[in-house]
């Protein structure tokens, strides 16, 4: 993700407007560059510029104030590691780190995340080398279908950065805001207890 790309997307959005949406063919966009969630022909106060610092890159996008951080990441920036499961703050699959603290990206507006350091799961292994928490999840089979995994990895990462030697109870507590229907809790707990803090 580069400044340049953010800029060109912004220009693209300004250029398209409502008219092109009705047209049969859309330009051949890069993967992830969906039609905006906040198109101008919908009700609402209209888009505002929002600058997000995601994984060390600052990008300015135009979104309606009501757009959540999760939708901004997924639909506007094509950063899809955080998943949408309940969209109601009840599962933790959308977890990202905000200044190092885990938050539900579905329950926060993109504009409210301005000025904060946002980290998604993609930032943990930038060059492809898994960090300690990720390695521990693989080694202890702390996942099955993987859809909850980025949320658990980040919840565990946040815990271990703050508290490199958590007790069993602290691990349970830190992970209790995340749901895993595959029931990989044993592996997840082991991974979170086993990974050395600080990732």
């Amino acid at each position: 993700m580069s400044e340049e790309r953010g800029f060109s997307r912004r220009k693209f959005l300004q250029g398209v407007g409502a008219g092109a949406l009705a047209a049969g063919a859309m330009p051949d966009l890069a993967r992830g560059a969906e039609a905006p969630e906040d198109a101008p022909d919908l009700a609402g106060p209209g888009p505002v510029p929002v600058t997000l610092d995601v994984n060390g890159v600052r990008t300015t996008i135009e979104v309606e104030p009501r757009v959540t951080l999760l939708d901004a990441l997924r639909s506007r920036l094509d950063i899809t590691g955080a998943k949408k499961v309940c969209d109601h703050g009840a599962c933790g699959a959308c977890t990202v780190l905000l200044d190092g603290r885990p938050v539900y990206a579905c329950s926060m507006l993109a504009i409210a995340a301005q000025g904060k350091k946002i980290e998604t799961v993609e930032s943990l292994a930038p060059g492809g080398e898994l960090n300690a928490v990720q390695q521990a999840f693989v080694a202890h089979d702390g996942l099955q279908c993987g859809f909850c995994t980025s949320g658990f990895v980040l919840a565990s990462e946040a815990l271990l950065r703050q508290n490199p030697r958590p007790s069993h109870e602290e691990v349970l507590e830190a992970l209790s805001g995340n749901l895993c229907r595959c029931g990989s809790y044993q592996g997840i707990k082991k991974a979170s207890g086993a990974a050395p803090g600080g990732g």
Partner: protein, 702 residues
Amino acid sequence: MYSVGHSEERKDGVAKVRGTARYVDDMTFPGMLHARTIRSTIACGEVLAVRHALEEQGFTVVTARDIPGENVIALIADDQPCLADGVVRHAEEPLLIVAHPQRAALWQARVDVEYHARAPLLDAERSSTIFKEVQIDKGDPGRGFAAADVVVEGEYRTSWQEQLYIEPNGVIAVPENGGVTIHGSLQCPYYVHAALCRVLGLAGGKVRVVQAVTGGGFGGKEEYPSMIAAHAALAALKSGRPVKLVYDRMEDMAATTKRHPAVVRHRTGVTWDGRITAMDIDVLMDAGAYTTLSPVVISRGALHATGPYRCDHVHVRGRAVMTNTPPNGAFRGFGAPQTEFAAEAHMDRIAERLAIDPLTLRERNAWRPGDTTATGQTLGADCSALDVLCEAALRTDFQGKWRRNRGSGRGIGLSLFFHGAGFTGAGEERLASRAALELTAFGARIHVSSTELGQGAHTVLPQIVAETLRVPYEYIEIAPVDTAGVPDSGPTVASRTSMIVGGILQRCAEEMRDRLGSLSPEEYLELHGPLVITKEYERPPGSVWDEEHYRGDAYGTYTFGCNVVELEVDPVTYEARPRRLTAVLDFGKALNPALAKGQIEGGSVQGLGYALLEEVVHKEGRMANNQLANYAIPTTLDVPPLDVVILETPYRHGPFGAKGLVEAPIDGPAPAVINALRNAGYDLRSLPATPEKIMEARCGST
């Protein structure tokens, strides 16, 4: 051993922890539209008029009239329409599909539907429409009851359970080559393929189904993706654009299938010394509005209704009936969790009546090798019901704790269970699954339609091939699951993948190994050119099944398990708090012990949810608590320590001795919990055991 028996790392693990695995909602296509389903708000009646001005607002609108083929989602009975055409038989029934370039616009699509509502039929016990009835008869129950000293009767009830795969359902349909390609979160690509050909009126070659990385299924993505794919495909063909149709959580919970509610009635003859002389069992399941998979679910339910116990005189009747609720469907266990819950809760009531302990009663009656099931199937040397029972009881000091606990507010409960591996009866023969193995420069590439859902299929199948070819696991690849490129190896259901598809691949690999002789793969390719070996399922010799009379070998074999649950009941809130769950499972061979353990733990956790937490609340045929916030599933804080023990009594027709695994673990926790509550002084006969029910079930109040 090269690979089998080793805890190899799952092939899909790294992409999943990095967040780079692309699930269907992570993908987009140029020009893609987003779709939404407009559903009925009533449970029963007629649609008189549908009014909207959506086309003028830039929406593509699909109705039943846009269906080029048949308005049906092809499965067993073909009675379920793709889009309701005038008649509504359940709430949330799809009426229209609307699509728009902007996802956010979908929620502003206004559609007015005028109905003539009728009173819905919501009580399965009052339904006279039977989708499927099965009868199992063995011996002469009249004689068996005559030989009994005591007859114990009981009625047991279970309710819906939502699969709640964490990734909601979703597909993308792309118009391509005069047909359509589906990318979807799904278990059974060839089911979707067959259904689409019928709805779209297209030849097989024009429809292509590709599995995207899938965030869990548990049966919930067995049949319903055919519906979603048909809807997206219709919108894609009408608009000429790719169409993404991803459900949000509330819609997914309200509209898609769930575990069938059941009422199971037992009448059992026993002697004073604890031998079962006769069983008469009636199973009623609520199928919902359409047949879907219910005939097979009731069949499996009935076949597991006796529990793993010897008895010469048995009558089982099973019925799946129609009601005006969304159709119920496949969910891990597939009918067996309901009937095994009843069987095991009933066993503890029999023990109580005879004043013997639950372990002794089970020891007396548990199947041994050479015993026959209710259908007359003779159990092989791999029948290990008694082994799992003894292991679990010893490990937990069951008898001692059971005696000490009685009525103390603390309880220990036991359940003994079994699970038929693979399709029922002649199902595997009918499927005639195929799998292919292609020689590569280092090893081989597997071509199957078996899907990775998190259960580890794409790790375990390569292990079987690596072992047979005697090459490292890393050298075995698996081709993308794409109907344009892989043979139909059947659906990924019924705990069949390792045992059945793994078995076919093992035979492919054996032939490949023979053909290679002393040549390395590279040398072979240079000398003889490409090598692809395709094989088909072969029924184990000597096995027979009579579908009409339900006699013979209902399954190739059975997996056995025993659970012990220890719990405490809070004297103030009446919450049952599990303190420990012990799960002993024997599925022949743990091809990958770490993954097997994960499956046992996962199934046990879902089983604990079924036992204690998960309750679907219906109002007039609609799910009222269709949110994660008020349909509770277990979190890290709800799961007690799990003690998992794997026994390995090999099955001679399974690859390296393996049988089916992933469903069995969910059969046991619920009855073990209910039996632990009985030990603690609470007589419950229905699921889930909520605090309200536990309070009502206090000692002496029943």
